[in-house]
């Protein structure tokens, strides 16, 4: 545990923890709105802020936050007005941001080596001032995300309904993308701008495998994100690699492990088709020779009626009767 006494590692771990919980929290709303890749785009945009900071000799974090938040609000307003026609406008903005960042960094006499500390994270570069920014911004993101959870959920689930009950849909949408922009930028020292999007999406997908409910999913994703971020940071100290890559690899490994759990959960909440009791025909028809045993796990759709369970099999309803299946 020698790493724990190192000042830079303590800063790195705290920064990683903040990224680990904020990225999946805001990512939950992006995933629900089918905007999983927005974080990636915002990361590209933030590179322009870093490049500008390198050229002007100012602190990269505040400048990157400002550019990224402004860009995200612009994107959201364009989307809402229906003028961001598909992906092309976004692609231009995002790759414009990335190339402008690289260009500005080059003009500042900095190579891609300097930039890669922002693109993939770097344990050594987190200053005490950075940590303050990260802590304060992270706290704001979490407070708003959790405090407005029901409202943000309603807007991302069903915008017309949210509008019909008087929620300020445009404002809430702008809040989501701005928080996403802040989250992306504050994680540039830990996961890095090019990989942070993975931390906004992968723990959310994992949480959807293992828990039921939106709120539960959000908190589970935060926990999973924290575990991946902390273990990845410690691991990268030993492996002497950029922390972002290991954090994301760990998050994806956990996602893969959650697959069997998801299968079990899906079985528990299999869609149920209800039939009226009177629809059961009185005919006692023998099902065709049936080598397959129907049970809760067989994959055939379960239908509950008249106090027992049938399984839909090739368009027939099969009901277990002693050693065979009846056609219902």
């Amino acid at each position: 545990m020698d790493w724990f006494s190192l000042a830079f590692m303590q800063r790195a771990l705290l920064a990683a923890l903040i990224t680990g919980v904020t990225a999946p929290a805001i990512g939950t709303f992006l995933v629900q709105r089918r905007l999983s890749l927005l974080g990636d785009g915002l990361g590209h945009l933030a590179v322009a802020g870093v490049g500008l900071a390198l050229l002007t000799g100012t602190a990269p974090l505040p400048l990157a936050v400002a550019i990224c938040v402004a860009g995200s609000i612009g994107i959201e307003l364009l989307r809402e007005s229906g003028r961001a026609s598909g992906d092309v406008g976004l692609a231009i903005l995002f790759y414009g941001g990335l190339s402008a960042g690289l260009l500005l960094a080059g003009l500042a006499g900095q190579g891609t080596g300097t930039l890669s500390a922002y693109l993939f994270g770097s344990l050594l570069t987190i200053s005490a001032a950075d940590l303050w920014y990260i802590t304060i911004l992270g706290a704001i993101v979490l407070a708003v995300t959790i405090g407005l959870l029901p409202q943000l959920f309603a807007v991302s689930a069903d915008e017309p309904f949210a509008r019909s009950i008087g929620l300020r849909v445009r404002l809430l949408n702008v809040v989501v993308v701005s928080l996403a922009a802040v989250t992306v930028t504050v994680s540039m020292r830990t996961v890095g701008l090019l990989l942070v999007s993975a931390l906004m999406v992968v723990p959310v997908a994992t949480a959807n495998h293992v828990v039921v409910g939106f709120r539960n999913g959000l908190f589970a994703a935060m926990g999973l994100g924290a575990v991946a971020a902390l273990s990845g940071t410690v691991g990268s100290y030993y492996l002497n690699t950029a922390p972002g890559s290991l954090i994301v690899v760990i998050a994806i490994a956990v996602f893969a492990l959650s697959w069997p759990v998801s299968r079990a959960l899906q079985r528990r909440h299999r869609p149920v088709v209800e039939l009226p009791d009177d629809s059961a025909p009185a005919v006692h028809e023998l099902a065709e020779t049936h080598p397959h045993v129907h049970d809760a796990d067989c994959g055939h759709l379960a239908v509950e009626h008249a106090g027992h369970t049938d399984y839909i099999h090739d368009g027939h309803r099969h009901a277990a009767h002693e050693d065979h299946y009846d056609e219902h």
Partner: protein, 277 residues
């Protein structure tokens, strides 16, 4: 009772005068005027593409329109009393990953709930009552996406009930739901009506709601048809609908000695596909 003209009154719950809606340069609703009075249950009927869903969205202020619309006597632009509205959109537009039925229904309380504060006991009670009203108290913890189509429709109705609204606006509540659910929803509507709520529904067919409907408003080609016009009497709007199977409107059955003579028989091949208008 059906298809009678509403007497003029000043305390209309919904009032629209010469409403036009143009979407992407295409006129969808043309000069629609209507009035819905307190406690009425009104069905808006029309073929696919007749503009009924669009008109309903305009009445709720969800899409831009020209013309005058007022809710509860207040012009739409000044209307803020949104918790009096219980809107049930078409089922297809809901984006939820793992949200439970209860979480979806809880959204209905947000019109009155304050941000950053937890749900009150009254909020929770209203959500419980709404779930029980649609017979889903035992499915509250189920993920919405894992419920059957009819159950999902009931969740959306429960969300509207949870608002405590006295104006219900339901868009195609019978689309793609089984007979049992239709009867259950008719029971819900009947109880709402008993409590004095005003109900406006976009419907394809009256189905189980037939005995409850006070009045129908028929739209054809974006226009409100005069009272007495019968739905499906003419095939307005069908020509721009490739793949529409005319054979499932058996017009002879409608006009040949049908008991009401003015409304189409319930179709058996309802697909529940989203309305394009």
């Amino acid at each position: 009772m059906l298809l009678t003209e509403a007497p003029a009154s000043t305390d209309a719950v919904v009032e629209a005068a010469s409403v036009d809606v143009v979407l992407n340069g295409v006129p969808i609703v043309r000069g629609a005027s209507l009035e819905i009075r307190p406690g009425e249950m009104v069905a808006i009927l029309g073929n696919n593409g007749s503009g009924k869903t669009t008109l309903m969205r305009a009445l709720l202020g969800l899409i831009p329109h020209r013309g005058e619309i007022s809710l509860f006597g207040t012009p739409l632009d000044d209307f803020t009393d949104w918790s009096r509205l219980g809107y049930v959109p078409q089922r297809g537009g809901i984006l939820v990953q793992q949200a439970t039925a209860r979480e979806v229904v809880s959204s209905g309380r947000l019109g009155t709930r304050r941000p950053f504060l937890p749900a009150s006991a009254a909020d929770r009670k209203a959500v419980d009552a709404a779930l029980a009203e649609v017979g889903l108290a035992d499915r509250a913890g189920y993920p919405f996406v894992r419920l059957s189509g009819g159950q999902q429709q009931r969740v959306l109705i429960a969300r509207a009930l949870a608002t405590g609204a006295d104006l219900m606006v339901w868009d195609e509540p019978l689309a793609g739901v089984d007979r049992n659910t239709q009867e259950l929803l008719a029971g819900v509507a009947a109880r709402l009506k008993q409590r004095g709520a005003t109900i406006v529904m976009v419907l394809h067919e009256l189905g189980c709601f037939r005995p409850l409907i006070d009045r129908t408003i028929v739209l054809a080609d974006g226009r409100v048809m005069p009272p007495g016009y019968s739905h499906h009497e003419h095939d307005h709007g069908h020509e721009d609908e490739p793949g529409h199977d005319h054979s499932d409107h058996d017009h002879r059955a409608v006009h040949g000695g049908h008991e009401t003579g003015e409304l189409e028989r319930p179709r058996t091949t309802h697909t529940g596909l989203e309305e394009v208008s």
